[in-house]
């Protein structure tokens, strides 16, 4: 039996920063990870975008904090993360999307987001070679950006180890013991652990982990497909999000990373539900069709690799963060809906302040992202 103040399950996009901030605040923290190493779940499949451009106050707040943290990583800790302040660009080719995006601007600005509608001329300058036919303009948020998910995960792992976190790899939680609405201990395939607080940061496996203590978490992974090209000289900076859909896909987004490679991702439509991440033959033709539809200049670039990753989805497309009514010492940081990488750093900092400092500053986040919300509506910018 090993004792800790806090046990986090999952050494991924969320668990890593969270463990760092908790340890830094003096807590004795263990992170239990069933895989060989950190960041081996969905973090490694993330394409690298970090934005505050969301449509609700909680995610805008968390996103802004994430940007500050990752952007400041090199200055503060001397660790490179390949951060680029490239902005997010949502080019628009139809009236309905123009209306929808413009309608969000007021809320977004109200919550401190630096975002505006820009004209086609400026878009063409930002992304040379972008498809001009039908381009009506778009929203652009210059302070968003991108970083290497692998490097950010590595940075938080290193910082967390230095702050005193115990990382326990190759152990899988197989049972959770409860007594009177409290967890009394958890067992892995190798060891037993006890803590005051247990945090579910298990990403694609959050639902199964919840079931071990009787929680019914509405987190259902589906898979998205991504790809990366050879590197070329940098010629555009923003993450470009194409909200148009076709018969096989809805959103498509891509950017040129720090190394000069195009990284792109497709949201399949209909969704591919489940945890299967094996490649299918449909993806490459689909992704290339989507990419060249918005950026024909990329015709001559060579695709290097493709992969699939999971989006642990909730019914309304927003994460679940907070305490549960059934087991009072279980905290949830789950259902990131494919945004674990961009929400993780901010969320880690916020949760550490809630749990350790007892601040009420973020109650609006807890309320909005509660497990017990209605899960109605659907976030446009998920």
């Amino acid at each position: 039996m090993k004792n800790y103040d806090i046990v986090i399950i999952g050494a991924g996009s969320v668990g890593l920063p969270l463990s760092y901030y908790l340890s830094k605040k003096g807590k004795k923290v263990a992170v239990i990870e069933k895989r060989h190493s950190y960041g081996r779940g969905e973090n490694k499949a993330a394409i690298g975008g970090i934005r505050a451009t969301h449509s609700d106050p909680a995610k805008i707040k968390i996103g802004k904090m994430s940007i500050d943290i990752v952007k400041g990583m090199e200055k503060e800790h001397g660790i490179e993360t390949d951060w680029i302040t490239g902005g997010y660009l949502y080019p628009v080719y139809d009236e309905a999307k123009e209306k929808a995006l413009k309608s969000l601007l007021a809320t977004q600005k109200e919550f401190g987001l630096n975002i505006d509608w820009i004209e086609p001329k400026k878009i063409k300058k930002l992304v040379p070679g972008i498809t001009e036919e039908g381009l009506r303009g778009g929203t652009y948020s210059p302070q968003d950006g991108s970083a290497s998910p692998l490097k950010v995960a590595g940075a938080f792992y290193k910082l967390s180890v230095e702050a005193g976190t115990d990382f326990i790899f190759d152990e899988e939680v197989i049972s959770i013991d409860t007594e009177d609405d409290l967890i009394t201990g958890i067992k892995t395939n190798k060891e037993e652990y006890q803590a005051n607080v247990y945090i579910n940061a298990a990403g694609g496996n959050a639902r199964e982990l919840g079931e071990l203590c009787g929680l019914d978490l509405p987190v259902y992974p589906d898979s998205h497909e991504a790809g990366i090209t050879e590197p070329v000289k940098p010629f555009f900076k923003p993450m470009v999000v194409d909200l148009r859909s076709d018969e096989q896909s809805s959103n498509f987004y891509y950017y040129q990373n720090y190394e000069g490679q195009m990284v792109f991702c497709v949201t399949p439509e209909p969704k591919i539900i489940g945890k299967d991440c094996d490649s299918t033959s449909e993806f490459l033709p689909l992704a290339v069709r989507r990419l060249l539809a918005i950026h024909p200049r990329l015709k001559n670039i060579r695709v290097r690799k493709t992969w699939r990753g999971l989006y642990p989805m909730t019914p309304d497309g927003s994460p679940i963060v907070g305490w549960t009514d059934n087991v009072h010492n279980m905290f949830l940081a789950v259902g990131m809906c494919g945004q674990g990488f961009m929400l993780g750093p901010g969320l880690g900092k916020i949760i550490s302040e809630m749990l350790v400092d007892g601040t009420n500053d973020y109650d609006f986040i807890l309320k909005q992202l509660s497990l017990y919300r209605a899960f109605e509506g659907n976030e446009l910018l998920k």
């Binding site: 060989h36 190493s37 036919e133 050879e230 000289k233 033959s281 060249l292 670039i301 290097r304 992969w307």
Partner: protein, 689 residues
């Protein structure tokens, strides 16, 4: 021009000359030869400048697998080793990252063609070809995907005679001749469709393979079964200077020299004494390239003894218990330092010697190209591995194994056929590693020609027994297979020399006593004759010691086996031991006066694409507790164009160096695409260009 215009085995063909520019200067090359070869022919061996450390990059695989030979051709970055040369090409050194050319506002049609076949065969080398022919006989439809413009795989690069048996594996024929023969059989077969210059880039769960067809179009292939006969890739080695232009694999060397007839080097040093390294030395000598030496860290030669004997007789030393310490030079290989090692394989610096060479060939072994196999198996497909993709062995074994693979696939697809037990036994023999070594035979010289065998090691080879018109030669019966060594059994030798001509090891001579004092010896010679009857030549024993300067009595050329039969006059005592003719002068193999030890032991490159050195990786493994090769992507290891094909083979050693047991490490994940595919391969152009 660095072209091989005279070769003892290969014909030099004049082709259409075209003009091209390289970095603004005018050059000429042959139309449709690979750009890399045209550059080499013009002595241009530096293709790009890596952004990390401004390091010049030379050719490495010459096989379309890595992308070290990328240059800018008419504005686009292209792999020069698979891009044919055309009139007027504007070729430039790739400096750091290429610029993506601006285009117009194009619109594209997207159609992905799907081909259907019973069996998809990946790789048109020896095993792929024989399995295709076998399946075609049984009426299956086959799509054979081959990444070159010619079938035969590595057979085409081999100018030496093959081991094995005449009955089952074309023994005594030269590799390229076998390749051409098999290709003609495939071309005549209506059941077989060959996709040339095509690479399978992914196997997908929905029972389709993605193929980059004719280096221009992405297509899908639906199949019932897959035979994976993609061959092997060469292992690389980590030592300081290992990424200098001029360090490359023996396979790339064979491609340049034997396929493209490029004199790629003046003097080479070879690391590795397996058959690939030994044959590399032989190919170099045939092309007029000096071979300074072969080193192997092991205490015995890894390849066939007859090969190493042959090489040493020709004047190439093989240094055992010796390793390469470093390659050095300004922007290219100019010298290489080697040293002996102790029992723990640590170099003994006092023994170090430096040699002046322009090329260092790595022949450190082969690793199966079998990554699709695991995926296909996981997806539950009918899949069989054949040839080197299954197990590294000689091409003779691959050809026979291909036949069995074809039959096994037929069974998997429901054909009711039986595979004879004898097939499996033969296959087992053909893939055998070299066996026992025997002391030299007692030689009795007679007054008519009789054969003397310097074939003292059990290897799977017997063409001397089947070629003899008088049935004078039989194998020993120790093992009862073609592994046994040959013996002279009936004293009916007529001195025809066919056994001398066919022996792949050049390990048979004919000897006859002429007077009381001297004998005539008939020796095999596979080089351009630079002597004539009446001249004195250096004749050696099996180990390469010069026995005497012997007078040439006659030279006869056996056309079928493309081998000169040279008869010399020698003393009786030496005649018994004579087996080879020295072709390389002693002066070639001398070390430099000063030994060069000015290098950092830890800066050998592991990941060539991203230029990550061994020390950086070892430090990272320790600091970040790495137990998953994929994690090394954090420092870009395996993220480059080759898709971790080169560095993945080195990983067990790198992890060991960091004190991590390979058993505890998750290997790198194989993802599509295994070869980069331009987006243009997925569109049909329409509208403006």
């Amino acid at each position: 021009m660095n072209r091989i215009t005279k070769h003892p085995i290969l014909d030099y063909q004049e082709r259409n000359e075209v003009n091209f520019k390289f970095d603004g200067k005018k050059y000429t090359g042959f139309e449709n030869e690979m750009v890399s070869s045209a550059l080499f022919a013009n002595d241009i061996k530096e293709f790009s400048i890596h952004k990390k450390g401004n390091a010049p990059q030379g050719i490495f695989c010459a096989n379309g697998q890595c992308s070290q030979c990328t240059v800018i051709i008419d504005g686009s970055p292209l792999k020069s080793c698979i891009t044919p040369l055309h009139e007027g090409m504007d070729i430039r050194t790739l400096k750091h990252l290429p610029e993506l050319p601006a285009t117009g506002q194009e619109k594209f049609d997207h159609k992905t063609e799907t081909l259907k076949t019973d069996v998809l065969i990946i790789g048109g080398g020896p095993s792929g070809l024989t399995s295709a022919l076998e399946l075609a006989k049984l009426d299956f439809n086959i799509i054979l995907v081959e990444d070159k413009d010619q079938l035969g795989g590595k057979l085409l690069l081999q100018t030496h005679k093959f081991f094995g048996s005449q009955e089952d594996s074309y023994a005594g024929m030269r590799g390229f001749e076998i390749g051409n023969l098999l290709e003609s059989q495939i071309k005549e077969n209506k059941n077989i469709t060959v996709l040339y210059e095509s690479s399978v880039v992914g196997i997908y769960k929905d029972k389709k393979a993605g193929v980059y067809k004719n280096n221009g179009k992405f297509s899908l292939i639906e199949f019932d079964g897959i035979i994976l006969s993609a061959g092997a890739r060469e292992k690389s080695l980590v030592f300081p200077g290992n990424d200098l232009p001029g360090v490359y694999g023996a396979g790339a060397f064979q491609t340049l020299v034997n396929r493209d007839l490029i004199k790629a080097s003046d003097k080479v040093f070879i690391v590795g004494s397996g058959n690939v390294g030994l044959i590399g030395a032989y190919h170099a000598l045939q092309a007029g390239i000096g071979v300074v030496g072969i080193v192997d860290i092991l205490d015995q030669v890894s390849g066939y003894k007859v090969h190493s004997d042959k090489i040493q007789r020709m004047g190439v030393p093989v240094y055992l218990n010796t390793t390469v310490l470093a390659a050095g030079g300004k922007g290219k290989v100019e010298k290489v330092t080697v040293a002996q090692v102790d029992e723990k394989w640590n170099p003994i610096l006092e023994t170090a010697k430096t040699y002046k060479v322009d090329t260092l060939l790595i022949a450190a072994g082969l690793s199966p190209v079998d990554e699709f196999y695991g995926q296909a198996e996981k997806f539950g497909f009918n899949v069989i591995k054949a040839g080197d993709a299954d197990e590294i062995a000689e091409a003779s074994s691959a050809m026979f194994g291909g036949i069995i693979a074809g039959l096994q696939m037929a069974q998997k697809l429901g054909k009711k056929i039986k595979i004879s037990k004898e097939y499996y036994e033969k296959s087992e023999v053909l893939r055998s590693k070299p066996g026992e070594v025997y002391p030299p035979f007692e030689v009795e010289i007679k007054e008519h020609f009789t054969p003397v065998f310097q074939c003292l090691q059990d290897i799977p080879c017997n063409p001397c027994t089947t070629v003899c018109p008088k049935n004078c030669i039989a194998l020993d019966k120790k093992l009862g297979t073609i592994m046994d060594v040959p013996m002279y059994v009936n004293d009916d030798c007529i001195g025809c020399g066919l056994c001398v001509a066919i022996c792949p090891g050049l390990a048979i001579s004919l000897v006859k006593q002429v007077e009381d004092t001297y004998a005539e010896v008939m020796l095999a010679h596979e080089y351009i004759l630079d002597f004539a009857p009446g001249d004195l030549i250096s004749v050696t024993d099996i180990d390469g010691n010069i026995l005497e300067k012997a007078e040439v009595l006659s030279c006869r050329f056996n056309k079928k086996y493309k081998t000169h039969l040279v008869t010399v006059k020698m003393s009786l005592e030496n005649a018994k031991k004579a087996i080879g003719i020295r072709v390389q002068d002693e002066s070639v193999i001398q070390p430099m006066k000063e030994t060069f030890l000015d290098f950092l032991p830890d800066n050998g490159i592991v990941c060539r694409c991203e230029r990550v050195a061994v020390k950086e990786i070892v430090d990272f493994i320790k600091e970040y507790r790495v137990r998953d090769v994929n994690q090394l992507k954090q420092i870009r290891v395996g993220m480059g164009a080759c898709g971790a094909k080169t560095c993945s083979i080195l990983m067990p050693r790198v992890f060991a160096q960091a004190g991590v047991d390979w058993k505890d490490v998750t290997p790198g994940t194989i993802r599509p695409l295994t070869v980069e595919v331009p987006m243009s391969a997925l569109v049909d152009d329409k509208g403006e260009k």
